[in-house]
Symmetry: C2
Subunit: 393 residues, 2 copies
DNA sequence: TCTTTGTTAGTAAAGTTAACTAACTCTATG
DNA sequence: CATAGAGTTAGTTAACTTTACTAACAAAGA
């Protein structure tokens, strides 16, 4: 059996069953002991005992009576989402974005700060710690009830070892940052790439809800993807899965250096801008290339129309490749792609229908800038499966 | 907990522990009770009891004494691989290839038959049943000790429902073939696509041993792949994962119909033959296009050299795409690709190094035509995890 | 009166620890 | 050189603990 066991004693069973009971309560929102017994195949006395313990531990609440089904009314139980809390952190370019959330993932307080640049690793961590204090105060949560902190950042993270190999904006290049933050905060920390965090956020709360094979495709100044297969995040053998910017799409010999992939070089926003140089005047800060191209195309600018079509077509190539390999049921479009208009999405979808069998649904990311934070919170929830709560006592 | 439970009683634990003990024995080949206790964290008396039961059930054997480590000599235990048996079946074009194996996956007898064409579903099943009888007789295994039959066939299989949606050679188009065979044989049956079976075979016994993120890439008259991620077979949301023949590689508009993918149309053996028409006389039955091209290229035939380079390059495109998405640690080359010479493999590898980070090892399939059968046997072994054996009694 | 919910009490299953027997190695000593 | 006995390791027996089960019952309602 794959279940991790510490002592090999039979308490294991109890914990498993307790976890199962807890899961039932969470799943159903409100449920009675009798119904838990039916769902779990555990006897009613056993369920009663487990529930009793969890009420003592503060994990469950009795919330009132349900409707009778021809006999005594059931006592409804509810999960105490306030029993513990979690913090999420996202470094997005030069801003630090944080939130504290309950076990449901609901935000209880939020905090943002513009980082002073150039930042070095130390000041950034102090900013983070200060933000956390602020959040704790604002939400009225005691520090002991914090389970952990999820941190998302741009760059290449090695989740296993908790190190960052490339992350200019935070000044954390190459350091074992997870451990450093853990020591500063005195809390468990999970770090991950920001695209992964957004993927997770959309998966649990956004466009991906209800699916289990999802690819989150991001086009910005780079191109990347987050991949969830059979309900599990897939990271690859060396955390490099989803580096779809390296697919062989478009001219092969344009690349400025080995760190930029072919697809990325040609069809990320920077690649598109390069191609649009002839007819597109400089964009102002914060505006979108695609929106601009769409605007021009609607004014019958032939260059813009041609380029837009080319971009859509090659993005569709990328999707076709992904679909061929992974056969996901859903492709979430994010970054620059959320600006594609309805007609554009339809065009892409039609191409896919022509090229590949089993075309997935295409949906735009639905959580906007909150996706990353939500993901950061949920990655902690995932890392502390409910069974872990049962250890705390 | 995800573990399926039938009765919710505490016998579950025992079965889990029994399974763990069994797994230790299998893993170590020979091991003593004391060492099992250390590995599993179960107490020695508990291990003794479980082992005793399994010896009674015929699953384990005492095989002698081990070396003393300063005290009493340990009694070594061994798994009884002969306790049960498994059959594997592959329909390969017009031949039926079968084997019966022990729980180690070692073949005990083998059977081949050329099928009469045109075959219809019924005669094929009778051929299969006859083959099984023969195998049982030849190996001296009693029917009751057969755990199940793994069947691999060309075509699109829906493993969940046990149906085949496309399989001209067997005449089983669209039928719930798994159930039909189960009823005819009176044994559990697992069906799967032949490429999947070969993938599994190479994974457990061939080039893939010791890796857990493996892509098995097959180029023949079609192009396909089998995918193993984090040690699990990945099939996609509708069993269409690994349909890499649909990647967007090469000219898009050559396709004869929607059932052929772009990559496949251009760079499967048929696609290559198409391109070689000008200078390659017809091949005789059973010879390889690539071998032929390599032969001609070595004779300084410029056309052959150009085409071969083009083929290698575009195969490498395919690999680069796969690697970008999945970051496997190993890519197994099979089908026509096993004929690529050392220099060709090196050229492909160099390209990959240029194009993508984290290039996986490239290895040719090592089991030849036995891969599929080995996979068919192992897929039954996987489907009947050892814990299941403990139910049999 | 019949159902459904929840609890109490006694029992059974499967693990644990502690203590014991068995069998072997190593070393010191006559 | 052989050999007693001290120390180790393997496996078993016995008593105890944990945890879930069944059966019976009380509470509350249709």
């Amino acid at each position: 059996m794959r279940v991790p066991r510490k002592t090999g004693n039979s308490k294991l069973v109890k914990k498993l069953n307790k976890g199962e009971v807890l899961q039932q309560v969470i799943q159903h929102g409100q449920i009675s002991r009798a119904d838990i017994s039916k769902e779990t195949m555990l006897s009613r006395p056993c369920v009663s005992a487990l529930v009793e313990e969890m009420i003592q531990e503060g994990l469950l609440h009795e919330v009132g009576m349900g409707d009778s089904k021809g006999g005594r009314k059931p006592i409804l139980l509810e999960y105490n989402y306030q029993a513990y809390a979690i913090a999420g952190v996202i470094f997005e370019g030069t801003t630090l974005d944080m939130a504290i959330a309950d076990l449901k993932g609901e935000f209880l307080a939020r905090y943002r700060k513009r980082l002073a640049l150039p930042s070095n690793g130390e000041t950034v961590i102090e900013d983070l710690a200060a933000g956390l204090e602020q959040l704790l105060e604002e939400s009225g949560i005691e520090r002991e009830r914090l389970l952990g902190v999820g941190v998302g950042l741009q760059g290449v993270t090695q989740r296993g070892s908790g190190t960052v190999s490339f992350s200019p904006s935070t000044g954390w290049m190459g350091s074992p940052i997870q451990q450093t933050i853990e020591e500063r905060l005195g809390l468990p920390v999970i770090i991950d790439n920001d695209v992964n965090m957004m993927t997770l956020g959309e998966y649990v709360r956004g466009a991906g809800v209800g699916h289990s094979n999802v690819v989150y495709m991001y086009v910005g100044t780079g191109i990347g993807a987050g991949i969830i297969l059979d309900g599990q995040f897939y990271r690859g053998s060396r955390e490099a899965a989803g580096e779809i910017g390296f697919m062989m799409i478009g001219p092969v010999n344009n690349r400025p250096n080995d760190a930029s992939g072919v697809f990325e070089t040609n069809y990320s926003t920077s690649g598109i801008l390069q191609q649009a140089k002839g007819f597109l005047s400089d964009l102002q800060e914060g505006s979108s290339v695609i929106e601009e191209l769409i605007r021009l195309a609607r004014q019958n600018n032939a260059d813009a129309q041609r380029l837009l079509d080319d971009v859509y077509r090659h993005w569709a190539y990328g999707m076709a490749n992904i679909v061929s390999v992974l056969n996901p049921e859903l492709l979430i479009l994010s970054g620059e792609m959320v600006h594609v208009d309805e007609e554009g999405v339809k065009r892409i979808h039609d191409w896919l229908n022509e090229w590949v069998p089993e075309v997935p649904s295409l949906e735009k990311a639905s959580l906007g800038e909150r996706a990353g934070l939500i993901g950061a919170v949920h990655c902690v929830l995932e890392a502390f499966p409910f069974s872990r709560l049962l250890d705390k006592e």
